[in-house]
């Protein structure tokens, strides 16, 4: 019997540059190199049982280039699972014993190097967007050594941003908090020397609200916000706690990658960044109040201008991203109100820790602006509804003033660390 053998031996698996970076997961100190090495099906939709299993799958992908969609069981319902099996994925939970596979309904050849992200689904059902480790890696220049907090759900765009940074750059360590540790993350972070953290504005607001003193004990030098509209109030509050840290906000999505990075501590970005054509960098435009991004970091099949669905407003030389186009605009008797702008004003009240602004059905005007707020725990002289309404009335056109403001007792948050504000 003859056996055909390849004349070329298979290339040695590539070793990511960050393979010796430290990983702290559930309090245990590991490195990328020390993670287990299960064989992943190819293509696979891996539902990570825990944070360490998610990191394991990411490392295996980086080394072997197997086609991978990484998520958690809670984000993949029965319908999505069927959809993935139909699309040729082996779907399985990855735990300490390896992958427990569900065989694909239509087996197909794998696409080497392909990574799939599920968009967060705030606009409907989760959607698959194709990337590679390369298109997900947006930080390429040498970075100062950092220990990063990773508070995100495995497989989301934000999670991959922190994970690729640590996998591909030396001296970028990770401290991963599991969902059940999330409320106590400052304690974990301080214990392990976290000096850089990335989170949604809701994540930061919740942390400031729950225990600002514990937060202040984390030796942060880099603070990053993204995933939701970033308003001036949250930037100022973080600056107050960490006067020496760099406070940055990032506009990024599965579709267009990380497209806007702002380090000057102000909400929005300078208006002269619009329509600027720089090779290798995203081009930002505004069409009918919508942010349009042409990005080299786009997902597969999304070359060219991408309508982001995010609403922008130009104010005082800054382009502010105020919210989703389909939910940010409230029509009050023919006058357009941006929920994000109103939210920014409410969040600017010293006693307000968090705010959500929506339109509510009303007679005569069709809709009326209403709000929910969470008050800061240490607020001296707790404002009542009338005081908050007056604060807004002093700063907003009359039709934009929320007339009903409900006080909630805790900041609502979802697995994506967003509030859907």
């Amino acid at each position: 019997m003859t056996v055909a053998t390849s004349r070329h031996s298979a290339p040695a698996p590539a070793e990511p540059a960050g393979v010796d970076n430290r990983l702290v997961v559930g309090g245990a100190a590991l490195t990328w190199r020390s993670l287990p090495t299960p064989t992943l099906p190819d293509p696979a939709a891996v539902l990570a049982h825990s944070a360490v299993h998610a990191l394991t799958a990411a490392r295996q992908h980086a080394v072997h280039g197997t086609e991978l969609l990484l998520s958690t069981a809670s984000r993949v319902d029965a319908a999505l699972r069927t959809e993935l099996l139909e699309a040729g994925f082996t779907v399985g939970v990855l735990d300490d014993d390896g992958v427990h596979p569900g065989a694909p309904a239509r087996p197909r050849a794998a696409e080497p190097g392909r990574l799939w992200l599920l968009t967060s689904g705030s606009t409907g059902r989760p959607k698959r967007v194709g990337h590679t480790l390369d298109t997900l890696t947006t930080v390429r220049v040498d970075q100062p050594g950092r220990t990063w907090l990773c508070p995100y759900a495995p497989g989301t765009y934000a999670w991959w941003q922190v994970v690729t940074l640590s996998l591909t750059q030396p001296d970028q360590h990770l401290v991963v908090v599991e969902p059940d540790e999330l409320d106590d993350w400052p304690g974990v972070a301080a214990a392990h020397g976290v000096d850089a953290a990335s989170g949604t504005p809701t994540f930061w607001r919740r942390t400031l609200y729950r225990d600002a003193e514990a937060l202040a004990r984390v030796p942060l030098r880099q603070i990053t916000l993204g995933g939701e509209p970033v308003d001036q109030a949250i930037l100022d509050q973080l600056r107050e706690v960490f006067p020496a840290a760099r406070v940055s906000w990032i506009y990024a999505s599965s579709e267009v990658g990380a497209s806007i990075v702002v380090h000057d501590g102000r909400a929005g970005f300078p208006v002269d960044w619009l329509d600027r054509d720089t090779p290798g960098r995203p081009t930002l435009s505004v069409v009918d109040d919508e942010l349009v991004v042409t990005s080299p970091f786009h997902g597969a099949g999304l070359a060219g201008p991408v309508r982001t669905g995010d609403r922008v407003q130009v104010l005082d030389g800054r382009v502010l991203i105020t919210g989703r186009l389909d939910s940010d605009e409230i029509n009050v008797g023919g006058s357009k109100v941006s929920a994000g702008m109103v939210r920014g004003v409410l969040a600017g009240h010293p006693a307000v820790a968090w705010a959500r602004v929506t339109g509510r059905r009303a007679p005569v005007l069709g809709r009326m602006v209403v709000a929910e707020v969470v008050l800061a725990p240490a607020a001296s002289g707790v404002p009542d509804e009338a005081a908050l309404v007056r604060w807004c009335a002093d700063r907003l056109p009359e039709h934009a003033v929320p007339r009903r403001i409900r006080v909630l007792t805790d900041i609502p948050v979802k697995e994506t660390l967003k509030s859907d504000v």
Binding site: A362, P363, V364, L365, M368, E398, H399, R403, R404
Partner: protein, 83 residues
């Protein structure tokens, strides 16, 4: 069904105006234009009625009408609760 009386709605209307440092006159015939009660205020009042009763008002039910006085507002909202 929870229902607010005309007097209770009047109290809510006074609250809406008071929050703007305005006063609601006792006379039902007072002109809304003169006391500075406008469509935004009317909408707020309707939301307050909804919040008090926990019931949604059916704003589309009654036909268009002229609402010019305090009494018109109160009549309209009392009637809306029956739709």
């Amino acid at each position: 069904m929870n229902e607010l009386s005309r007097a209770q709605i009047r109290d809510l209307m006074a609250q809406v105006l008071k929050n703007q440092d305005k006063e609601l006159p006792g006379d039902d015939a007072a002109q809304l234009r003169e006391i500075g009660f406008r469509s935004l205020d009317f909408s707020e009042l309707a939301l307050r009625v909804e919040d008090e009763t926990g019931e949604e008002l059916n704003f589309d039910a009654p036909g268009l009408r002229r609402i010019a006085t305090v009494g018109d507002v109160l009549d309209f909202l009392v009637e809306l609760q029956h739709q």
